[in-house]
Amino acid sequence: MAALRVWQRNATVYKRTWKLNILPNFFEPFLYLLGMGLGLGAYITEMEGLPYINFIAPGLLISSIMWGATLETTYNVFVKMNFDRIYDGILSTPINPKDLALGELFWGATRGTIYGGAFLSILFIFGMGLHWGILLIFPLIFIIGFMFATIGLLFTSMIKEIELFNYFFTLFLTPLFLFSGIFFPMGQLPQAVQIIAWFTPLYHGVELSRGIFNQVWSVELLEHLVWIIAVTFLNTMVVLRAIHKRLYN
């Protein structure tokens, strides 16, 4: 309940500004599909038996959730915690640090879902994923959002300087974006890279999403889902403790 209060606070703020900042969320997928799908797709007509645009779209959807959720629990949380002192105000009420962290995680997942939802709606307009199996993508969008919210918040709980987020985005998220099988199949990379990829979060989301979009149902999809849920759960436990330690001292 207390976590819901924190979520509601963010929703109240967002209600005032969403009209201003939601438009880019629709343009981004449009530009990606236009540039990479149609532009690059003119040269790469097919990948793993799919038109190139259909190959990259499910992965790009997942990466947009990643950017949305992590932006929320990195920069936005850092500013609320250290510059605007909003958490000082919240924590002097019955809200405790773990409630606060959980509320921010749900809010991060919500923002990720908004990014993903906007992206998905553009894919539908392009005629992609118009089948009943696509219903599975909705809970997946939220879970992926939650997972990346925990990853962003964990990094935020460890740093004291806002500049350090550059490392998180450039050395962690950008490599994930490029090497998680969004633009080319992981099978063509060396074995070592594939093993590393297995340990990273975006890869599993991309594989799941592509399976759902193209209705390639296999046991491997379940394996990816279990990986995502397990990591999200464990990371939530870790990050709640980390925020508690940071804010109660």
């Binding site: 309940m1 207390a2 209060r5 509601q8 606070r9 109240t12 703020v13 005032r16 605007d84 002192r85 909003i86 000082d88 105000g89 919240i90 924590l91 002097s92 009420t93 019955p94 809200i95 405790n96 804010l247 109660y248 001292n249």
Partner: protein, 310 residues
């Protein structure tokens, strides 16, 4: 008459950061419906005591109860009964004035109706009607502080904590805040404040604990502190050091005690007029010679041997 049960009680309260003891074995009891002040310079440990009371800093050792609840065991219950005005402005700058109150009411699980009614009462009480829908950034310093106090009162707490309530305010705004504090005390709210302003402590507090380097050095009512620690009057002399020394030597048998500071000499006496006249008659040139009532500042100076600097 028997004293009522303390609303806040601290026994051997200690907070250590590594080797540094920010609060060192402190004991106090606060009676309901009174105003209790922690007085001391920056770094004395006042804010840390406050933070332990409203459960954002854990105790290293000791026992602290608020409204009968242990602060280490039932944090949410303790916090439900306390309103907090932090030293640094912690208003929500992403929201306007009314929403600062309404969103805060949600943290206490007030219903929408309760929240709206209470927010309107508080906006009126703190004279913020004109700024109701304005962004918090557009408020003056005094208005921001009033809004912070209003926000702290949203759940009708029995205890209001004010961490340096008038720091950074102009004189008019300070008096406005003090007047509101007096009204709250009359309404039965227990006030707990930290300050390094002596006049603020004298104006508001029934009881004062003087803190220095993590310890409470003494605790009493403002008047008792002045009566017991210093003499009722001070004659204050500024001027060349030689002149000051000469005067001190000449009057040392007529005073209770003195403080020789870097820039002035303070002579404590039960009656200022004869001493003042005596010094004037000595015809030693000084920059200023004035007599005044003793204040808490003098108490602090005597207890810690240090001047109180903001």
């Amino acid at each position: 008459m028997e004293k009522p049960a303390a609303i806040i009680k601290a026994i051997s309260l200690t907070k250590a950061y590594g080797a540094l003891k920010a609060v060192n074995d402190v004991n106090f009891e606060i009676q309901p419906g009174t105003c209790f002040g922690f007085l001391g310079p920056n770094g004395a440990g006042k804010t840390t005591v406050m933070r332990m009371i409203y459960c954002v800093t854990p105790l290293t050792s000791g026992l602290l109860t608020v409204n009968g609840e242990n602060v280490m065991e039932n944090m949410s219950a303790v916090k439900r009964g306390i309103g907090v005005v932090t030293q640094d402005d912690s208003l929500d700058y992403d929201l306007n004035v009314i929403n600062n109150l309404l969103v805060y009411a949600r943290y206490y699980d007030l219903t929408r109706d309760q929240a709206v009614r209470r927010a309107n009462e508080l906006i009126e009480f703190f004279q913020l009607e004109e700024k109701r829908n304005e962004n918090v950034r557009t408020l003056s310093g005094g208005m921001k502080r009033r809004l912070q106090i209003a926000r702290a009162l949203i759940n009708k707490p029995s205890i209001l904590i004010l961490d340096e309530p008038s720091t950074g305010l102009d004189p008019q705004a300070r008096h406005h805040v003090w007047a509101k504090c007096h009204e709250l005390i009359e309404q039965g709210v227990t006030l707990l404040l930290t300050t390094h302003y002596m006049d603020e402590a004298e104006q508001l507090c029934d009881q004062i604990a003087v803190m220095d380097r993590g310890k409470i050095i003494t605790e009493a009512s403002p008047w008792d502190l002045i009566k017991s620690e210093v003499s009722p009057y001070v004659v204050e002399i500024r001027g060349e050091e030689k002149a000051r020394q000469k005067i001190l030597a000449a009057v040392s048998d007529r005073i209770d005690f003195h403080e020789a500071l870097s820039d002035r000499l303070l002579l404590y006496t039960p009656d200022a007029t004869p001493l003042h006249t005596h010094i004037q008659d000595m015809n030693i040139p000084v920059k200023t010679l004035l007599s005044r009532r003793s204040s808490l500042e003098d108490v602090f100076l005597k207890l810690t041997g240090r001047e109180l600097i903001d």
